[in-house]
Amino acid sequence: MNKARNRVEAAIAALALLLGITACGPAEPGTAGAPSVVQRLTEAQYRQTIADVFGDDIRVAGRFEPMVRKDGLVQVGAGAAAVTPSGFEQFDRLGRSIAAQLVAPERRSRTMSCKPQSDTAPDDACAGQVLAKYGRLLFRRPLSPEELAARIAVANAATKGSGSFYEGLRLAISTELEMPEFLFRIDATEPDPDRPGRLRLNAYSKASRLSFLFWNTAPDDALLVAAERGELNSRNGLARQVDRMLASARLASGVRSFFVDMLGYEGFETLAKDSMIYPAFNPAVAGDAQEQTLRTIVDLLLTQKGDYRDLFTTRKTFVDRVLGPIYYVPVAPKHGWISYEFPEGDPRAGLLSQISFAALYSHPGQSSPTLRGKAVREVFLCQKVPAPPANVNFTVAQDTSNPEYRTARARLTAHRTNPTCAGCHKIMDPIGLALENFDGIGAYRADENGAPIDASGELDGVHFSNAIELGRAIHDNPAAPVCLVDTLYKYASGHSAGPAQREWLQWLNGRFAAQGYRLMDLLRDIALSEGFYAVTPAPAPTQNSAINDASGRGEG
């Protein structure tokens, strides 16, 4: 029956696609897709999943081992991350603590769907009910009968060992929280019936991709039900879920997570400023500076449904009492945020003029036109800046006592006379120098060491005289929206796009432009495309690593 329904839906979808050709440009080109991935849950994903599955009153007290950024994103790094012994120790501690809170007497009425026949003896039926319910939400798919039987056996044995049903159940739930099926998002594939010989993600892995992309958490019950019923394999069924998720208030949390990753905000965890040079900077400023930028993004892209490129030019933002003094903006309420628009003629507009960008891409005691220019190239334009040569000679720019070199511009100009350095610095510094009116924490300054700051520069042939005009130049640079599409695809799929996806990405870019660079439309296009779920087989094992690994643990 389902099959018949799918066929009808497929026919409708095909028709819609045909109609779509006239309405919104060309149809989606085929793509072989990208290799399947195994991604370790990030800290944010772990925390959000626990809150969603067990309730947000469950404390997740502990540290997570740091993730490594790869190809510009932590989410891609998650596809290369393992779990170290000390990292697993943490997961074990967290798992036991979460499970203990879950079975605590005061929570049982909410968290337990059944009562055991006795508090001191095993009750496989009741334990099984609880373990199946949570196992499905944690593993993001139902447990197989064998898997469930194994968890019940753990609860049974641990109940006998401890003399307490809830202690046994606690330990069994803690194992669900420590198993690889929870800690890793493992792509599962199946043959694609529409494209013989090719693979696609199975319905549950599709559900996970959608859920982590839109909400940065595990699929909810409704999405898992849709996967169970095969609805995610039909265009209409998929669209119903995608539109439900896009309409949810939780979309903001998914969009925030994406930008936190893209903007490199894990750098704030260890960002320190010299307190003698920047007495105004403190952890509250670091925290609220990120919040300001994320609020600006969510407001423009989701609430206003605005043009992504306007992030570089918008004068609208939000401030609070913590940030007010640095912006010289009075903030009346003691707590919370007010919306604020920098007046016409103010030197600030766009994300690059905000404290978060200025402070993150600076040194502890100075601003850094080079770091800022590099960030613009790499983060917003997806252009890789080569690493500096090892034996750089900085002598020409060393002499800070020289009155010629009072500003960063003067020092960097001198540095660029070295031909080995010039090549890269000329693609970074002219961007960063336009932001020199913002010091190492983003406070405005007109001069440096007594010399007036010249904030003029150039980006790919477009000249500008200050930060406002730089924002406009990035807004108009064709690489900026293309970079967002690339980065979002990478974030969503866990892979940098390869040559096989070039045509598909061009199609996506075409639609993004035609729809006025609206993020929600882009998210919808990705989620409804076939290319997003197409998977190539994992590469064959190489000779000396995997074959040995597969042979077993072997304690020697």
Partner: protein, 443 residues
């Protein structure tokens, strides 16, 4: 015991070039020093101590070799521990035509015996991992990683690119991990196994039950990452197994005071304070047999240490500070690495202050201190400074200066492995492969 036949063979197939007689594997378990009064053997420990951004070679390298070497201007901070250490100068990391990935190639080349082919990638495990796999399996923790920089990412203990052991940046969290509720006092009068631990251990073993099925689902690269995950699970199981046995007495073990929850971060004043507290805790972690292997990071590879009121980090100073024409060096940058060397001397003193058996805790350790570069301004990987502390239970001499004069730096790593009882007669790849240990060091 997890230096398995498989792992050794895999090491060979990846080109480590270990010559292995399999029956020798037994000897890895018996790297014992002298005996305690109680008759129990004193364990042998290994550690690394790292500081970033090197030194000024012409002011650090002594000219004379052997026991009579002169204290140079930049060895002044370690003069007070001269009898307990060895100074190793002019040993080189050889890049074999690969790029010098700044602050990475020197550090990882020294620690893995191979210059990395790409930044932030290591194809081979670092030295401490090889040694921990051999000697670290009978203690609660296979190894402990610490950093005084406040950043857990600052760790050079790496099994692979995907498996970097994170460093603990907080003295208080380190204390809690070591001496919190799960700590078993080795000198407690009575011992009875905790029934809770018995249950936990059996429950934990169920986590790996489906190992084969999970592994078969994924491709080769992912499989080796999952293999690392399962190895981590197994290590926790072993930790629990140990908690069920009565720990051998440890005469030098005294449970330390709980440290204050102070600031952590990269200001050098804060780092020096935290380093001292961490070393004192670490000394007791060793004396109480919690681990045999450790890695201490004083400052990271491109040293991000700062000094209140100075606008540049240590790293920026090494590149941008003017060489003072009168002094002949960069005074502000130099002040940073001189303080790092002072911290190393403190480290040695703290370990030497703990009495153990007939000697000191330090006597039963072998600790290698090193940096990522010699002259940081040019990211030079030739002549990276190395120092050793401790007598490794009487197996090595101290008080010497050994000059490498351009020999590959892998000679040091090979010697360390052999002293720690690993059955290797060659280490390193390409131009850095060596079969020549530093015989002048051996007692």
């Amino acid at each position: 015991m997890t230096l398995t036949r498989r792992r050794v063979l895999r090491g060979i197939s990846r080109g480590i070039g270990a010559s292995v007689a399999m029956p020798l594997l037994d000897c890895m378990l018996n790297a014992n020093g002298t005996a305690l009064a109680s008759g129990a053997p004193i364990p042998l420990r290994f550690g690394t101590w790292f500081w970033g951004c090197g030194m000024n070679p012409e002011r650090w390298n002594p000219k004379a070799t052997g026991a009579g070497y002169e204290i140079t201007p930049e060895l002044k901070p370690v003069e007070r521990v001269r009898p307990q250490i060895n100074v190793l100068s002019k040993f080189n990391v050889l890049l074999d035509g690969k790029s010098n990935f700044v602050h990475y190639s020197g550090n990882l080349g020294l620690r893995t015996g191979q210059a990395p082919a790409q930044a932030e990638q290591n194809e081979l495990p670092t030295l401490d991992i090889l040694i921990a796999d051999a000697i670290g399996t009978s203690t609660r923790f296979r190894s402990l990683e610490l950093t005084a920089t406040g950043n857990p990412r600052h760790s050079y203990s790496r099994r692979s690119t995907s498996l970097v052991n994170p460093s603990e940046p907080s003295p208080l969290a380190f204390y809690t991990r070591l001496f919190g509720p799960d700590f078993q006092d080795p000198n407690a009068a009575d011992f009875k196994p905790d029934p809770g631990v018995i249950v936990r251990r059996s429950v934990l073993s169920s986590v790996s039950e489906d190992r084969a099925r999970v592994m078969n689902q994924v491709g080769a690269a992912d499989r080796s990452r999952l293999d690392e995950y399962f190895t981590s699970v197994r290590q926790l199981e072993q930790q629990l197994e140990l908690q069920l046995q009565k720990p051998p007495p440890a005469e030098a073990c005294k449970i330390p005071e709980k440290p204050a929850d102070g600031p952590i971060g990269q200001d050098i004043a804060v780092s020096l304070t935290n380093h001292k507290v961490m070393v004192e805790l670490l000394a007791m972690a060793l004396a109480c047999n919690q681990t045999k292997v450790f890695n201490m990071v004083f400052s990271d590879s491109a040293s991000s240490l700062t000094r209140a009121g100075t606008d540049m980090t240590h790293h920026s100073l090494t590149h941008e500070e003017l060489i003072d024409p009168q002094l002949g060096y960069q005074p502000k940058a130099t002040e940073f690495h001189m303080q790092a060397l002072g911290a190393w001397a403190t480290f040695v003193e703290v370990l030497a202050a703990v009495r153990e058996g007939d000697g000191t805790l330090l006597d039963n350790c072998l600790v290698m201190a090193h940096s990522d570069t010699s002259f940081a301004k040019m990211h030079d990987v030739l002549g990276i400074p190395v120092m050793l502390a401790g007598k490794a239970g009487g197996r090595v001499k101290t008080g010497l200066h050994i000059a490498g004069n351009g020999e590959p730096i892998t000679r040091i790593g090979l010697t360390l492995q052999q002293v720690m009882g690993l059955p290797v007669d060659r280490w390193g790849t390409g131009a850095m492969q060596t079969a020549k240990p530093l015989s002048e060091l051996l007692a």
